[in-house]
Amino acid sequence: MHLVECQDVAHSFPGAPELSLPDLVIGNGEHVVVTGPSGTGKTTLLQILAGLLTPTNGTVRLAGVDWASLTHTDRDRRRGRAVGIVFQSFNLITAISVLDNLKLARRLAGYPRDDDRCRDLLDGLGILDLAHRVPTRLSRGEAQRAAIARAVSGEPDLLLADEPTSALDADNAASVIGLLLERAGASGAGVIVTTHDERIADMFDRRVRLGSGS
């Protein structure tokens, strides 16, 4: 059974032309980069894969289960257990500390409280000293690491990252992707990263191009 299967997926937003997405099969632990110019549907693809968006056409399966066959509640629960997401703007909860962001994600993934594991993750990403800081007091680079730590804290089967290097220089971009793949590799999670940054594409097992065929 594949980790991700997309078949005949297309989505249309009101007032915009339909986006056709390529058929996609991703295996367990596979690391895939999705590239393409802006407007080709990279973010939409990630949202569909995460079950946040239901495509107007086609089927998306995660570990053999069709997202469309699940109720809203089951979809939310499944996403919490199986998918970790690094958003382009990080989307950390600003009312609570970095450590609490990790503990919250871990709890929503259905794991018991384990502060040590969350601290280990922060330590591994070099931001343990920021554990009790609220996200609004983090630099962009620190927030990015915190977002990666949160995404992997729930031990997901699939790690999705939307343009995680968009604001970074080449060295930092490679460093962040390295951390992401290392963390995902440690838990055996599959990874799908969207980017228009060609410099990091070589770090993945496979590349999928949008807007110009795969």
Binding site: Q47, H72, D76, R77, N91, T94, I96, A105
Partner: protein, 427 residues
């Protein structure tokens, strides 16, 4: 991290808005809570004090004033009645207990009441120390009066003319404290009790008594007959001074009847055939509440308006931050939180806000009553305390929590309609 902890974090993130909303709610709840408790305590106090007095006989004038001044000791006396007109009522077969009272003097903020030992029985008062007055110019102090005046058994004090503080002092007639009462929780705590003759003598209108001028219930009659709760009650008899005096007038006679029917027969008779009038404490207290009702209703309405304003503030607070919260709700959903979980955060936020406001309101309301009880002697006299909760306050708590839930309802509905991918894509 659970919904309640996250809700607390959200409230802490906006300390000023949280504080102002809580204070606004607290003002509404505090006003209503204070009114409910005041109403409850006042009613309870009046009815308790009046419980054992079925009828007050006094001089013609306001019946309500007669009851307030002689039973509750909170108003000016209406005037005096001739002692010889009162005497037949003391031994009337329909009367089970008769307590004569003479008012007119004070000690500091405390009233001096000339009476007989039966007064103690009527108020369920017991001596904490010393003995009952045994002649003129001896006095027993209520617990609060003794404490606040700093007087103890054996001390001597002078009274002032008039029932309010500040009157001219009776410099030549000093009283000796012979006893102090244990706290009763009633008006007796704030009274200075002495014999009827003392009140009369202190105004220098002594009239030697013949056999018909004795003081029934004072001169060993009721007091000796019935040792009562004090156990050591002794007659007040001026024989110790070699004189046998009785007053020419008293302020009122407090009567308790064997049956209500006999009271209903006797009261009109007194009203018709004497210079005195009768007043039923139960009726007059009912009349007092009827008089106070509009004012209390206005205050209660004011409290409800305040509370409605507070509910709007809670609603506005929750709705106002919804845009921000919609983003967080979407993030939480993306992290795997089901709708019930995210709804729990909003509901917890509303309930914490309303619960904090309500509890603070109760504290403010009861704190205000406690301060009023300390600052205003009449309120203390009425037994007003900050520690007594009215049964209606439980409903107030429920109403406040319901307000919180309703306030969370609209943001909840709006949050539920949000499109996850759109909200997340906006950021």
């Amino acid at each position: 991290m659970n919904p309640v902890a996250l809700a607390c974090a959200y409230l802490a993130q906006r300390p000023l808005a949280t504080l102002l909303t809580t204070l606004l709610l607290a003002l509404g709840v505090g006003t209503i809570s204070a009114l409910l408790s005041f109403d409850h305590q006042f009613r309870d106090h009046l009815l308790r004090e009046a419980r054992n007095v079925h009828l007050v006989v006094g001089s013609k004038g306001s019946r309500l004033q007669l009851v307030l001044s002689t039973v509750l000791h909170v108003d000016y006396p209406t005037g005096n009645i001739p002692w010889n007109e009162a005497v037949p009522l003391l031994d009337h077969p329909a009367v089970s207990r008769a307590v004569p009272v003479s008012l007119g003097d004070g000690v500091g903020a405390f009233r001096v009441v000339g009476t007989t030992g039966v007064f103690l029985e009527a108020h369920g008062a017991h001596l904490a120390k010393g003995r009952v007055w045994d002649g003129s110019f001896e006095a027993v102090l209520g617990a609060t009066a003794a404490r606040e005046l700093g007087l103890d058994v054996g001390n001597v004090f002078a009274t002032t003319h008039g029932v309010v503080a500040g009157g001219p002092e009776h410099v030549h007639d000093n009283y000796t404290v012979t006893g102090v009462l244990a706290p009763t929780g009633g008006v007796a705590d704030r009274l200075v009790l002495t014999s009827l003759e003392s009140i009369w003598e202190v105004h220098d209108q002594r009239i030697p008594t013949a056999g018909d001028r004795r003081v029934p219930g004072g001169d060993g009659d009721a007091a000796r007959k019935d040792e009562g709760p004090t156990g050591d009650r002794r007659a007040q008899d001026d024989s110790a001074r070699g004189r046998n005096l009785a007053p020419a007038e008293i302020t009122a006679l407090l009567l308790t009847f064997h049956s209500p029917v006999s009271m209903l027969r006797l009261a009109p008779e007194i009203d018709r055939n004497s210079a005195m009038i009768t007043a039923s404490p139960a009726v007059e207290i009912g009349r007092l509440f009827a008089l106070l009702a509009p004012a209390l209703d206005v205050l209660r309405g004011f409290g409800i308006v305040l509370m409605a304003g507070a509910a709007l503030a809670v609603f506005t607070t929750l709705t106002g931050v919804l845009d921000l919260r919609q983003r967080d709700i979407a993030i939480l959903r993306a992290l795997g939180a089901v709708r019930a979980w995210t709804a729990g955060v909003l509901v917890a936020e509303a309930l914490i806000l309303t619960l904090a406001g309500t509890l603070l309101g109760f504290a403010l309301g009861h704190g205000a009553l406690a301060v009023i009880g300390i600052v205003i002697p009449q309120a203390d006299n009425a037994g007003l305390s900050g520690l007594v909760a009215a049964p209606g306050e439980a409903w107030l708590l429920l109403a406040a929590l319901l307000t919180g839930l309703v306030s969370a309802g609209v943001p909840l509905l709006r949050a539920g309609r949000g499109n996850l991918s759109e909200i997340l894509a906006r950021n």
